[in-house]
Amino acid sequence: MSTVNIKHKGDRLYYAILYTVLGLFCFTTVFPFIYSLVLSFNDGYDALRGGIYFWPRKFTLENYEMAFAHPQIMTSFRVTVLRTLVTTVLSVGLTAMMAYGLTEKKLPGRTGIVFYFFFTTLFSGGLIPTYVLYRQMGLINNFWVFVLPGLFSFYNTVIMRTSFEGIPAALTESARIDGAKEMTIFTRLIIPLSLPVFATIALFVGVGNWNDWFAGAFYIQFKKDLVPASTLLYQLISEASFESSMSTTTGQMQMNEQLMMAKATGTTPESLRLTFVIIIVTPILMVYPFLQRYFVKGVMIGSIKG
């Protein structure tokens, strides 16, 4: 056992530097979040004077009251929650089916089927043919554009299949001898034994959906009640960066009017934006640390076999 006694002076200095550097690294990682958290709890007009970094100077909940009373922000979160739940449930179930289908090594045509899936990771039609497909399928301005395109991923399937292959073959074989159908083996044996990998894939798919702003920005046009939270935040930032020159479309008009109204209270467009950031980030923050053990394993499998 190489137990480490910090006995030499050089050692002590070494560890002091190491721990300080990593401490600074953590600070740069976390500070932007703390900064906007603090500003979201501070009066927006007071914040314009600057100088707030770690603690609110003029504490207020008005930003949050404003955000939660804002009809478009609330609609956008409903869209985000709904799309995330629907996609995650469907995707995990279907990915598991696909992964289990690939575990049978003797399946006639298996190599060809694997290549059929794998090839799509090398070459894709690209943005425009995909857009044409969505238009032809009627997915533009349709809720299902958030769900259907994200149902499968080769990477996630590989992670799941590897996990399934770790289940002792003796278990499935004995179930088969007892006359169990493949469907029964899948639902009664494979799924209960693979909950960690289900959690991992659910996290990956769920976070991806929660964060997706692209579909809402380019496949949803003039339908405000289908704009997800990430897309709304994107619209707020680009509106802010292009000043008012962009405020001609209806959605942004409403946003501006709302922000004008905000001037009566202690809320500025900036403080509302940062509050929005905190509201979007919080659910993710509450989930990922608890799944760490599982997704770390998933990443390892994915990068070795993927």
Partner: protein, 317 residues
């Protein structure tokens, strides 16, 4: 004999006809069926849709009904006044990210590997994964405030050090575009990227270190002769992946961070396809640009993988 019994005839598969074997495993086809259909629609149909690039595509005529124009749009792209700027920007951004961003997770993993306090190590790891789980939209919202010329933290810090310093609009300043792209990319991905290296590091046999200590090796010798060689294969695999993604400069990040004042440095293939295609409606032209990018990417990954397999036995497949 016993084996044949327990396997209930599964070893006799080879003697069965193809049809009989397929029937025997029909349940697995059923499991694969939704995926096969989905891939046909969402991956292979768009591949067929690349025909758009060779046609003068009109929505009302459909893909087949539109007129053939051959390679006109590819020629147009090669003659596009922005062609070289876009290709150059794409390569410059990717290469900058590769040179600066690739070693970062390795260094973080090496640092973390030296930490003896388990709880401290775990804390640093958990925090380091955080930026991976937020979207680029959130990152850009955070950056916009941090780097704001109106009392953003960075400008305030500069002015605290030098009261005469004037505010800098970092996000609109062409000279700051690449540093911001590279640093924010590292900030977002370094923790997540370190996972795989940490896994490789923990797989190194501790006996090697003990043997080296007995031989009087110091910390740096151990790192150079045991630790680094132990993760070379992992570095190799990830290097192949990065090299083959060289035309993928990172759409979300660049699209969200570019400003009119930085367009001459920030317009890349992906953002150009989006603007010309989805925003301006030049469907055939953008598809041609997209194909240009996809084909080069595919050739790159196959070539790099082939070279690597032949020279170092490190390969993806």
């Amino acid at each position: 004999m016993t084996k044949a019994l327990t396997l209930k005839g599964r070893d006799y598969d080879t003697k069965m006809s193809l049809g009989a074997r397929m029937w025997k495993y029909r349940a697995f086809y059923f499991f694969l069926l939704p995926a096969i259909i989905w891939y046909a629609i969402f991956c292979y149909y768009p591949m067929y849709g690349v025909l758009i690039a060779f046609k003068n595509f009109k929505f009302n005529l459909g893909i087949l009904g539109s007129d053939w124009v051959g390679l006109r749009y590819f020629r147009n792209f090669l003659g596009d006044p922005y062609f070289w700027t876009i290709v150059k920007n794409t390569l410059v951004i990717s290469l900058l990210k590769l040179f600066c961003g690739f070693p970062a997770p390795i260094i973080l993993a090496l640092f973390l590997n030296e930490v003896r306090n388990v709880r401290y190590k775990k804390l640093v790891q958990t925090l380091s994964y955080l930026p991976h789980f937020v979207s680029w939209v959130v990152v850009v919202a955070l950056l916009t405030k941090l780097l704001s010329p109106n009392n953003g933290a960075i400008n305030e810090l500069r002015q605290a050090i030098n009261p005469n310093a004037s505010s800098v609009f970092y996000l609109g300043e062409p000279g700051w575009f690449y540093p911001i792209i590279v640093l924010s990319d590292i900030w977002k991905n370094v923790g997540w990227g370190s996972i795989i290296y940490l896994a490789a590091l923990t797989a190194i046999d501790p006996e090697q270190y003990e043997a080296a200590e007995l031989d009087g090796a110091n910390r740096w010798q151990k790192m150079g002769h045991i630790t680094l060689p132990g993760i070379y294969p992992t570095i190799g695999i990830l290097m192949i992946l990065s090299l083959s993604g060289i035309l993928n400069a990172g759409f979300d990040q660049i699209y969200l961070l570019q400003k009119p004042s930085t367009l001459h440095l920030s317009e890349v293939l992906d953002t150009y396809v989006l603007k010309r295609g989805l925003q301006q409606g030049h469907y055939s032209y953008s598809t041609a640009v997209g194909i240009f990018r996809s084909v080069i990417s595919m050739v790159l990954i196959v070539t790099v993988n082939g070279i690597s397999r032949r020279t170092s036995e490190v390969s993806l497949w």
